[in-house]
Amino acid sequence: MNEESMTIIVFSDDLDRGLAAFNLANTGASMGMKVSMFFTFWGLGVIKKDGSAKGNKSFMQWMMGFMKRGGAKRLKMSQMHMLGMGTATMKSLMKKNHMPSLPEMMVLAKEQGVKFIACTTSMALMGLEEGDFIPEVDEFAGAATYLGLATDSKVNLFI
């Protein structure tokens, strides 16, 4: 039986990168690997609840929060977003090809036991709290937690 682990740092909130990250996470999990995903910096946008975040925030943080409302449904392609047309086209192509959307991939990952960890430093920087994230987040932790997992893992990726 497979006892291998995989970690993925999700640094980006691009739709295409998010899909790649979850593609790998789901495949790893289906192969019996223990998969942990560490969402940091812009990556927090992937695991944010839809809509605006609440909480005590400075004006700068509020602006950032507004411009980057996030939530997996709202993410954009890293290229050819074309004011929304490119991203919409990509989503439509995916649907036509029976490819799961990013939110669907996230549900699948959870079903397969993938762990979601949110970076507390990034949260503090952006004025976000635990309640701003989807309930599927397992842990709020820092780099030491991540490195503890990574040193035991066979595959460590930065996306």
Partner: protein, 77 residues
Amino acid sequence: MKADQTLDCIGLYCPMPIVKTAQRIRELEPGEVLEVLSDDIGIKSDMPAWAEKTGNEFLGAEEEGGEIKVYVRKAGA
């Protein structure tokens, strides 16, 4: 090749055939054979890799038209 259960993944792309295989194999008894239908050519190398990692036995692949049938036997028998 004879199979105890069939999983139709026609029209699905990586990682869905593998993910669905991982889910479906739980419903088989050890020693039973699962037949997976796919039209994604990647399955010919994905399935042996998956089987090796999960300790199941990859029995082979048959191709007919654009349709590929792969066979996996659940371990533990």
